[in-house]
Amino acid sequence: MEKLVTLIPLFPLVGFLYIIFLGKGLSKNLIGGIGSGAIFLSFVTSIVVFSTQLGGGNPTIVKVFDWITAGTFDIDIAFIVDPLSTIYLLFITGVGFLIHVYSIGYMHDDEGFNRFIAYLNFFVFFMLILVLGDSYVTMFVGWEGVGLCSFMLIGFWYKDMKNNDAAKKAFVINRIGDLGLIIGMCMIFMQTGTLKYDDLFISGSEASSLNGWYLHAAAIFLFIGAMGKSAQIPLHTWLPDAMAGPTPVSALIHAATMVTAGIYMVARSSDIFASSEIASNVVVWAGLLTAILGATVALTQNDIKKVLAYSTVSQLGFMFVALGLGAYSIAVFHVITHAFFKALLFLGSGSVIHGMGGEQDIRRMGGLKKYMPTTHFTFLIGTIAISGIPPLAGFFSKDQIIAFAFEENMLVFVILSAASALTAFYMFRLYFLTFHGKFRGTHDQEHHLHESPKVMTIPLIVLAVLSIFGGLIGFPHALGHTIHFHHWLDHALEKTVVMPFLDMSLNMELLLMLVATLIAACSIYFAYNKYVTKGELALEDDEIESGTHKTLAAKYYFDEIYDALIRKPVDAASAFFAKVVEPTFIDGLVKSVSAIPTGLGSVAKLAQNGKMVMYVMAMILGLILILITLL
């Protein structure tokens, strides 16, 4: 049964190749069908493979072929089947399938339709390689692959230079993280001599031979890799810009799958992180900073996708806090619920943008409730889910992270609760401004408003259902249920390290849930009061007066700071090298070398003057000279 795992990445790859090379001239529906069908086959296979792990998780390595063999170093193309990888498989292929179907409707009128579906397939292929690879090296192949696909998809509408810039930015910032990951991998290899998970964590325990500063440094470098991919401060600036891509891309790559690769990698390396307290603390504080800064920036954004982008950044921060606190399975749980509701929200926003004819500014929306009932209803479910109202998916995962923080560190708990309250506020701000009140767009837009086609709304409905019930897989202990999910996943993740587990009293846990729910409810009430009862609107750019608001609207000036600290000096250095070093030193050297033959040549060329008599004379004199010497 486990052998079937090799088919899972194969389907999207075949889909990609088929559409790219043989897709010309086929109808759009057929291309869409091939693309989604490939992912659906992967999904079905994933379920089969997943079922082998239900009995408690017995990691299996399925080897496909040898890849690198050099002395004692060998890396196979092999797939790991264990609870962590299979749970990722399920939501990558499941959510991926829904987004493929949605794309058929969303991208239907785009001239690059085939290319789009092909890229999506290619992306899913690499994401599956990332998750299934049995060593850091194989994972890195997928890691780079998703980065590449992300680049191609962000810059999908390449005729607009702005999109290309966003794509380049994502690529370059990810390179910084990737360098960290490579260094981390090298450090692990230097001490343990292997990069296979099996030797490091599962059958062997080579990871335990990492020690001292080596251990901390390796863990921190790995985390830098995760920071780049999962958009943690200070490497988060690419993600909001990545919204330049088509909306299904934002939903698939920048919310549900690729950005969670960092979480996957840290969870996979949980043995290393668990034994390094320093690295774990770095993870917690980086995550915490990201969670709160992301949430505050989201308060002031007016682009519907930017709000969701910062919300994603913030939610990823939550996951890293959980990872840093040692609650690996809870982080993965939040990844799953987040994949459901964030994909739902992004696709919902895509549906809104589709209906608005490309408008993304919530100041030009309002009152869409009556025009787009399905989108409205599903978007509302997503909003409630992310806000943490029971019993929707977001509540369970987020509440468990916060409960964990409460137990470990009061300060972390307070900041997370604040971020969580802000989440509820900005999400409902977005919801009220978009769907309630009066329509504020142009007359043309109002005339054009329509509900999206079924091919787009059905994925929304499915995701809405998942957002409602998805949390139940991690039903909390306090409500009279053993947490199978966590026991099952922890078993797979932790072999040497004992997991810290919630051991607070039942009443305490219930109380925390109540408090969290109340906080969320209060935030929602404030948002309702401000944007519906009082009917306030988001400020236009030139109306913003308070300094805090300006700072937030400018996203804490991260881009400007990077511009001043990195781009400007680099530009200045480039200009210096181009205008001074290159012409004087490099060109000077090359030109002085070429001057030697030129100078000699100008003397020698006097001999070749085109006078035939001279040539003949030279020939004869030469002959005579030779004769004289010989005789």
């Binding site: 060329k605 070749q608 003057n609 085109g610 006078k611 035939m612 003949v616």
Partner: protein, 105 residues
């Protein structure tokens, strides 16, 4: 050698050298490309004469074969060379090598 017993190899060589020298002098002193061409032919035939003379002296035919080759090459060379000169004359209206000195650096 019976018919002209007084004529030895040295006489042949003298004639040959004289012809060859005339050829060289012609090339060096004349400016008309056609004349220079004729001088080259003269030099080739001087060599031919010498080859035949030595061939007779040693009683071997190898050198005579060479002579045929040289004659063939000379004929081919004349064909090509005269064609070039024709074109030159048509374009430049002269065959003087003083004027024809464009082919340099």
């Amino acid at each position: 050698m019976e018919l002209l017993p007084n004529i030895t190899i040295n006489h042949y060589l003298l004639v040959s050298v004289a012809l060859f020298s005339l050829g060289i002098l012609g090339i060096l002193l004349r400016r008309n490309a056609i004349i220079m061409f004729m001088c080259v032919e003269l030099m080739l035939n001087a060599v031919n004469l010498m080859l035949v003379a030595f061939s007779k002296m040693w009683g071997q035919t190898d050198a005579q074969v060479f002579v045929f080759f040289i004659m063939v090459v000379a004929a081919a060379e004349v064909a090509v060379g005269l064609a070039i000169l024709m074109m030159l004359y048509r374009n430049m209206n002269t065959t003087s090598t003083d004027v024809l000195d464009k082919l340099k650096w």
